[in-house]
Symmetry: D3
Subunit: 139 residues, 6 copies
């Protein structure tokens, strides 16, 4: 019996989309206003889903407070109020901090730690605006 449990956390960050090897013109063509050299930013909504069988005594798949603590320590403390192109150790320099890349990078940061706590990561979902979000299921 598989039940899925999701926890939302939030962070606010700056970024820009900019390929160093490209001209400004090409960056502008591909990334539009997202390539502003002085950065812009977003409020991000992050949804982390774990799956498992509810414990017969506690009714928990995983203690949601522990899940929240893991997400905060591994992800939110690094991303919140950061510049994602410059400040975050798990985002490779030069990799564009798009929503698509971020869900994969966040998955890699969380998967092992959640497993150590007895959980199994199922999905990383990230809203960049109310109109755009990405999801990654680990494969």
């Amino acid at each position: 019996m598989k039940v899925y449990l999701t926890r939302r956390e939030r962070f606010n960050a700056a970024h820009k989309l900019w390929v160093e090897d490209w001209t400004e013109e090409k960056n502008r063509e591909v990334f539009g206003k997202c390539c502003n050299k002085n950065w812009h930013g977003h409020n991000y909504d992050l949804f982390i889903t774990v799956k498992g069988t509810p414990d017969p005594i506690t009714g928990f798949i995983m203690n949601v407070k522990e899940l929240s603590t893991i997400i905060k320590e591994r992800i939110i403390e690094k991303l919140d109020h950061s510049n994602m192109n410059l400040d975050v150790d798990f985002i490779p320099k030069g990799m564009q901090p798009t929503t698509e890349n971020l869900v994969v990078l966040i998955w890699k940061e969380l998967e092992a730690t959640i497993k150590e706590q007895g959980g199994e990561l199922h999905c990383v979902k990230l809203y960049e605006t109310e109109n755009i979000f990405a999801e990654y299921y680990g494969e």
Copy 2:
């Protein structure tokens, strides 16, 4: 051709998380403030998804008003303004009314009735707060 149709219903209820065989200290350690002996409560948002092929004449998988009526009669009338530890016949006494347990219990209440009405239950999703929700797909 499978289309998925979801109906939201809402209920407000009290509960606590408390294992009788444990000390207060252990309950506090595992459940935190959720073990307050005087209860606390939530506004729950329930999303019921059925699947099927749209009828060529009505364009319906299942009449959403009938689906709503089933959810209200089987679930909302029992849970709304209830104490989920004490008042609800389909929640076994002593079972923790966690979001994870609730989605499984609600599935069991709805599956057969929806089938009788020609529908096929696909997912039960329940929000406890804007930050926590659980899902169950029947297996």
Copy 3:
């Protein structure tokens, strides 16, 4: 590595649910207030999900501005401020514009165009109200 990217667009439209071959009484019985001969309407929220591997340079599965442009040109310009029973070329006359039928019709409008742009359509999700939505995954 599959990542899923979703773009939301919105439209406002009128419709009614009405089967010509039925009596008014039967229409009323099946469709309730949705069969008002003078129409009613909704604000629709449309979520289009594509899947793919993020490009190693841009970090994009698909340029979300291009995706937005496709959705606007193929879907929103036709549906927004329309009467869906009368005005929309891709909705067959006599087919009920239910949420379930709409997600399938929208899928058919978008699938090929998105493929031409190098994307792969994964899901069409449509909210009719805050309480009702449908999803279609192409099969």
Copy 4:
């Protein structure tokens, strides 16, 4: 001591903005897509605010269930699934059913009935979309 209590109700309706004395060109210029002769529609969110002093025994300004009943009987039953240009007795024929006009018309429908029940109407607020709303305070 004045406390303000607000109840939300919802309705879905069709309308168009069209001045009979104008050419189609002028209607198009002023009203844009809202003048589609075949109508369009919206999900409306209606917020009714009453003010008063909480009763020392019940803690109520006004019983919110009674307030809800008044709004449903006087407003929602008439507007929900209606065509607001054709079907609604309290909207004068030829008056444009704009959000601005609707809040004034709804005020007039509610004020006396709420007063009969011991309440005092303070504000009518109406969302047409997530991006547009109007408010009226009775003067």
Copy 5:
């Protein structure tokens, strides 16, 4: 120059509406399902608004982190995961914990402390559900 600044905080609590001097029948008639003797509960959204002139150096009316700390210490720690009829020192025993009464009680708890921190309380707004909220402006 007056600018208004609002901070949202949230709490989850149980309560019931029940007048001891009344029969069960009368309680049921006035309070409906809200008088369930085993309690029910809600997720509450609390919006606290202060007013003032932005400081010419910091651009702050009041440091929003300090405002958040005050709200958490004075209100949220007492109300969150509480039974509002039994557990909260600033709610008089026997007073109904209606949304209308709560906004006045919360005002009284916050007004002086906010003034000590150089702020001026303007409004307490409390959502009980997505459909009901109350506001109090101190007079």
Copy 6:
């Protein structure tokens, strides 16, 4: 007869809160993580309210498309995807781009232009996150 009409627009921007004359320590103490030298950012929700009497023919206080155009040309084009400390002509250099300062600056940008179009500005409201917003009424 005064009716209030509100239009929402959105922008995404980077900023930091940092007083040049202060030490890093003092900046950190007052602004917390908001003083990160590499910036951070937000999705801002801007609500512009105008007031007036509905025109007897159009039912408009002010054409909401014109209002939207003014907001986009005067505010959104300058703020969207900007760095608010560096890029925006109507934000004085050295002034902190707090939500409180922004609502006053936006008021000044909009008031005259809205008046020229026959409208009267009533309120500028700006959400920085789901938990923080500021309002300004022009005095």
